[in-house]
Structure formats: structure tokens, C-alpha cells
């Protein structure tokens, strides 16, 4: 499995850009302190990864919704694969070479760009070679099927976590067993032992972080809402990259405190707040700056994201760390759409729309994402029952050739006009 090699290290671009944003934030009296912390954390995450690679340390590459807590408890350096592809698109705006390299490997165009780009990135040597590849079937076939090819490209061993589709006692027990087997695999491969006390501490912090996520969500119900239009992407990244880490708690507490102050002061993220939106799925990363700008321009702000920020009920128990990691995997907001989309799952969307008093929803229909796009009609119909209009934006989270900024602007402007007419 080879493709023509290119040696550009895009991770350095992420680090450089994050440090610059962080410093600019620090220098600006109006900037949110949480924003400064966030970009510092991103820069530190990738610096740690590059240093580990240089020093020949044990690195575990893993896919999305992976229980990274286990890696931190074993003091193993993680590399979140899909997030890294998104970050490259976000910070460099340039992922065409990675996508082409994925095609060169024989991956068909229907394989989503984060995974096609990822395989290409490894083949090009853009990303550090991991010691092991870890992946699961959360939440789609692309994730489930990506690991074996990445193992071959990287000439490394791997472990696949089989996450059951539904939730029952048997299924949770099965998942605990899967995690135990993975820990055993990691112990063998890395020569490190699982530190169960450390995992318990991480679980305790994770429990606290979930509480903070919920507090932040509560604050976002305020009118005007205090959190910036595309800010939810930071919340996603925090859980993707830093679950149970002390710096994540610090970020979330800082953000929570900032939002409390803003709510007290009646200070909205956009002024005036005209349209409260529900975001369904992930916007194109290369358009984040533009989306933030147009949101400010039109007073539109995402106040809820049922599949990304709306955590399930329950609490974690540090006395049962592994069971808690399993429990958390079922509490993930994204899990709302992994199991069967029954009445309960659909009611979750309606509840979000009502509680956050949304005027409309924007469905980012990533053309490469089959398990989300197949729900467009269903979610539209569910939201239609409570008279919430939905804009479907065909796009790609990574590939800028699918939709242009102008096209997105046109569609958003038309949607905002529609919302205005309704008001």
C-alpha cells in the first residue's frame, strides 16, 4: 500500500496557527479567556504528538468516539484521526493532496473525505506513524472499516472495538469485555500497565466535565444566547481530544463562568439576536470563519446541537471505572442517532427545539456521510410537526470542491429571509 510521498508536515501548521490565535486572544482584552485556553490546548496536543513521534514514543492512533480516557490512564499519546483531518482542513484549508492520495490507494469516492483523506495523509507521511491503530464502529461503516487499511499503510498492529448497536445489560457487558481485551492488547504492545487508580481519577473528572457541558447547555438557553455561533465545535473537540484531562475541566469551567457573566449582563453572542438555530451535524470546516461572519452579520446563532452537545442522562462512578467508560459511550450526544431512531430518539430533537426555542434548523448534509444524510427527511418531518423549518445545506466537511462560500451564502440568506418573514 503505497502512494507517491510528500513530506509536508501539516501538523506544524496547526500548531503554529493555534499558537498565533492563542497569543492574539491573550493580547485582546475583549477576547474570551476560554478561547485562549482552547487554542493553547490544541497546540499542546499536536506538539505532544510530534514530540512523541520524534522521540519514538508509543503513539495510539484512534478513530472518533473512542474511549481516549483509557489511553490517558495508560499514559499513551493519542492521535485522534478524524479530528486531525478536520483540523488540517480548518487550519490549512488544504486537503486536496490527502484526498487524492486516498483515491490513489484505491478508496472509492463514496468513502467520506475524513476517512479517505486520513488514509491519504498516512500514506503521504503527513501524519506521524502510530505504534498501534485503534478503532470502533461508532458511529458508521466508514469508521468500522477504516482501521484495517490504516494498519496496512502504517505497518502496525491494531485493535477493533465492536460497539453494540443497542443498549441492554448484555450489550454493556459485551462492551466492557471489548475494552478489557483492548487494554490487554495495549499492555502487550506498549509494555505499560493500566493504572486503574488513574482511570478512576479520569472518570471522576469526566463526570465533572459532563456536568459542566450540561451547565453550559443550560446557559445557552438564555435569550440572547451567550455562546458564539459556531462555538459548539470547541465543545466537540474538547471531548474528542481531552476527555477527563484537567485542562478540559479548566477550559469548561472558564467557559461556564464567562457565559454566566454574559447571561447576567444580558450580553448575547450576536447582537441583535434574530435567529436561534439548531445545528444538525458538522459544518464544512474550511468555511467556519465565513459561517461565523455571516452569523454575526445576520444575528443568527446555533443554540443547540442535539447530536453533538446534548448529553444523555446519567452519572459516572469512579469506583467502577471501566463500566463508567462504557456508560459514557452510551451518554455521548452522538449516540442519539447510532441506535434505532425510534420515538424516544426523535423526541430528543423535538425537546431540544422546544427547550432552546429555536426558529429554524440548519442541516449540514455532508455528501459523504451516509448515516446522517439518510435522516434528513425523518428529522425534517419531526421538526415540521412543531413548525420548525429546516435548511439542508449540501456540503462536505473537508472537501471545498463540493460547495462554495457563495452558494452557502445564498442559501443561508434565503433561509434567514424565510425566518424573518415568519417572525
Amino acid at each position: 500500500m503505497t502512494v507517491s510521498q510528500g513530506k509536508e508536515n501539516k501538523l506544524n501548521s496547526i500548531i503554529r496557527a493555534s499558537r498565533i490565535i492563542s497569543r492574539m486572544n491573550q493580547a485582546s482584552p475583549e477576547a474570551r479567556k476560554s478561547n485562549t485556553l482552547y487554542y493553547q490546548m490544541i497546540a499542546d496536543y499536536y506538539t505532544r504528538l510530534l514530540e512523541a513521534s520524534k522521540e519514538g514514543k508509543f503513539i495510539a492512533a484512534h478513530t472518533v468516539f473512542f474511549p481516549t480516557e483509557i489511553l490517558y490512564a495508560m499514559d499513551i499519546v493519542p492521535m485522534h484521526t478524524e479530528t486531525t483531518t478536520w483540523m488540517i482542513a480548518l487550519f490549512t484549508g488544504h486537503s486536496a493532496d490527502m484526498l487524492s492520495a486516498g483515491v490513489e490507494l484505491g478508496l472509492a469516492s463514496e468513502i467520506c473525505t475524513p476517512h479517505r483523506g486520513l488514509a491519504g495523509a498516512f500514506a503521504l507521511g503527513v501524519l506521524p506513524r502510530p505504534s498501534v491503530m485503534l478503532w470502533s464502529n461508532l458511529v458508521c461503516d466508514n469508521t468500522a472499516k477504516s482501521g484495517e487499511l490504516l494498519m496496512e499503510i502504517n505497518h502496525c498492529p491494531g485493535f477493533f472495538i465492536d460497539h453494540p448497536f443497542q443498549r441492554s445489560e448484555d450489550e454493556e457487558k459485551y462492551l466492557v469485555g471489548e475494552l478489557r481485551d483492548m487494554i490487554h492488547f495495549l499492555e502487550e504492545q506498549s509494555g505499560r500497565k493500566m493504572d486503574w487508580d488513574r482511570l478512576a481519577d479520569i472518570v471522576a473528572r469526566m463526570d465533572r466535565q459532563i456536568e459542566l457541558f450540561r451547565e453550559i447547555n443550560e446557559l445557552r438557553k438564555a435569550i440572547p444566547t451567550p455562546f458564539n455561533p459556531q462555538g459548539f465545535l470547541q465543545l466537540l473537540t474538547i471531548d474528542y481530544l481531552f476527555p477527563g484531562r484537567p485542562e478540559a475541566t479548566k477550559y469548561l469551567e472558564t467557559l461556564r463562568d464567562e457565559l454566566v457573566e454574559r447571561v447576567k449582563a444580558g450580553q448575547g453572542a450576536v447582537s441583535p439576536e434574530r435567529f436561534r438555530l439548531m445545528s444538525l451535524f458538522i459544518p464544512p470546516m474550511y468555511l467556519i470563519g465565513f459561517l461565523e461572519k455571516i452569523s454575526q452579520e445576520y444575528g443568527a446563532v446555533s443554540v443547540t446541537e442535539p447530536f453533538f452537545t446534548y448529553w444523555g442522562e446519567g452519572a459516572l462512578d469512579p469506583a467502577k471505572p471501566l463500566e463508567s467508560v462504557v456508560k459514557k459511550s452510551y451518554m455521548l450526544p452522538e449516540m442519539r442517532m447510532y441506535g434505532p431512531l425510534d420515538e424516544r430518539a426523535l423526541n430528543g430533537i423535538v425537546n431540544c427545539a422546544e427547550q432552546y426555542r429555536v426558529d429554524g434548523a440548519v442541516y449540514y448534509a455532508d455528501v459523504g456521510c451516509r448515516h446522517t444524510c439518510a435522516t434528513i427527511k425523518l428529522f425534517k418531518d419531526v421538526l415540521d410537526r412543531i413548525d420548525v423549518p429546516v435548511l439542508t445545506l449540501d456540503c462536505d466537511v473537508v472537501d471545498p470542491t463540493i460547495t462554495s462560500e457563495e452558494d452557502v451564502r445564498d442559501k443561508l440568506e434565503q433561509f434567514f429571509e424565510l425566518l424573518e418573514d415568519r417572525q
Partner: protein, 350 residues
Amino acid sequence: MFGWLCTYIPEEILHAAGALPIRITGYSKETELEDGNAYLYINTCSFSRSCLQLGLKGEYDFLDGVVGGSTCDGARRLFDLWRNYIDTPFYHVLTVPRKYTQPAHDLYHSQVKQFKTHLEEFLGIQITDESLYRSIVVYNESRNLLKRLYELRKFDTPPISGTETMEVLNTCFRMPKELFNEWLRSLLDELSIRENSHKSRARLMVVGSVMTNPEFIESIEELGGLVVTDELCTSTRYWSDPVVLDRNITPLEAISQRYLNNFPCARMFPSDERFNRILDLARDFRVDGVISQIVRYCVPYAHDLPLLTERLKGQGIPTLALDVEYGTSGSGQIRTRVQAFLEMLEAKRN
């Protein structure tokens, strides 16, 4: 009558309950999928869209129930939409693990038990071990007869073509198995004295996504290729591996073991289980080349393709990769590519 979607659904349980299991296959011809597209979006595979289209048109209204599994994104979303827009009285989805480990078997077995209980409650009956044994015998007989049919295809000039075999298989999904077995026994008797045997330019194997259209195979065979075997969930992966009865386990356990251990779909891990069985088939049926037909947006097979191609190449077997829509008859560009592939295989042989 109960519709089932995927080879990980144990048909014997439906049969033992006195129901007629019918495979949901959608339109096995190229057709307009307006409703399927509107409800499932075009990046869902055309197989799922086709099944939903038929369901939305009311053409599955005769079904008393549908049974599916968490097998792939297309299947699970099809069932999400089916549940919400099509009024079928009974509905059940099984969690199907992706591994072959003992805990995976335990989980799948518990899922199969739940399915049996749900069905018993719905029908107000009890599915006894005796009735399960009887159904296992009937289904194993079908598997055995199909295996005999495939054995005939190993001959230098087989008495049955790939197109005809696909037609046989299509009937298998829709008629009572007892009748099918009777019918297939007669066919095998006929084939044993059949004179018009099939010669070819190359012996081919078709692998990849779900496929039920004999015209696709016909278009290959019209060009002189002979499809002697396949790795499809509508053929070899459907009938391979009998339920092994063992005094030490219940019939339900035997059924569960068979379905999870059966010739795997690309969804299963590790993929080498599937690849090795493909390589075995290619060797046993003396295949010159492999045609991989992957329905657009069938991601599990698309991910496997680079790895499978490499393994086949290692055995000196070339692969032709075709991106198709479900139900395609293999016209136009596909014929051109198959023609070129056959020429390449001939040149390689000479």
C-alpha cells in the same frame, strides 16, 4: 409472511414459527427511485433505496412483519425509515456483533433468543425445539442442494451458467423451502444429463455488494466470460455452512453459531476471514479473474476493495472493479470494461 433483510437474520426461527420468510430485495432491475431518494437521500446505497421505494409503494403490504439487523449503515437507516413511514405490524432489529469471539457469540445468541421471544409473543405461539430441529433440517437440505449445484460449476464446461444459477437463487428467497428443495432436486437430476454445457473465454468469480439481477451476470456471459462462482450475500454467502447440530447445545445455539460464523459479509472483523474464503473459492473453482461489483455507497465493500485486490493479485488473479447501482443490467460502459477485462485475461493466459 415475514420479510427479512440480511443474511444475519436466522430464517429458521421464522420458518419454525410457521411463517413464510421472504427476502426483501427491492426492485432487482434498474428503476426510478423517486421516493427512495426523497426519504433516504442519494448517498444511501441504491439497494436500501430500492427496498424502501417498494415498501413506500405498498408492494410489501402483504408482510406481517419485517426483521433486520444492525449490519450496515444502509440497512439500519432503511429500518429507521421503514419503522417511521411503513406500517408493518411486527418489527424487530437484532444487534449483530462484528466479531467471532465467544462473547460476540454469547451476545448474538441472546439477541436471537430475544427475537424468538418477541415473535412468539406477537404470534401467540411457542416455537419448540422440535420445530426448530425440523426447520434446521429443511434449511440444511437447501444448503446442501445448492452446494451440489455449485459443485457442478467446477467442471471445465459446467452444465449451468452463472445467469441460470442466479435465477435459481432468486426463487430460493421467495418460495417455501420444502417446495424449493423438491424443485432443486429435480433440477439437479436434469443437470446431471444435460448436454448443452457452457464453454467460455474465462472462468470468473463475482464478488461484492448485494446483487439479484441475473441480467447483470448474463451481460458478462454474453461476452464469453463464464461466472463459475461468486461471493455475494444473495448466493454463496447465503447458502454456505450448514447449521451444525450437536447434542450438547440447543437448536437455537446451533442456529446462532451458524449465522455469526457463516461466510462473512464485509462488515465483519477481521476482513481476512472473508478474503481467505474468497481466495479458497477462487482456487477451488479455478477462477481466471474476479469481477468486484460494488453498489455505489456500499462502504464496507468499498473499504475492503484495495486490500482484497492486493491479496488476489498475490495469487495471480486480476480484479476488475465495477461501481454499479443496485439492479443494473450491465449495459454500456460495464460491457466495455468487461470486454477489455476478458481480453486481458486471454492475453495473460496466452
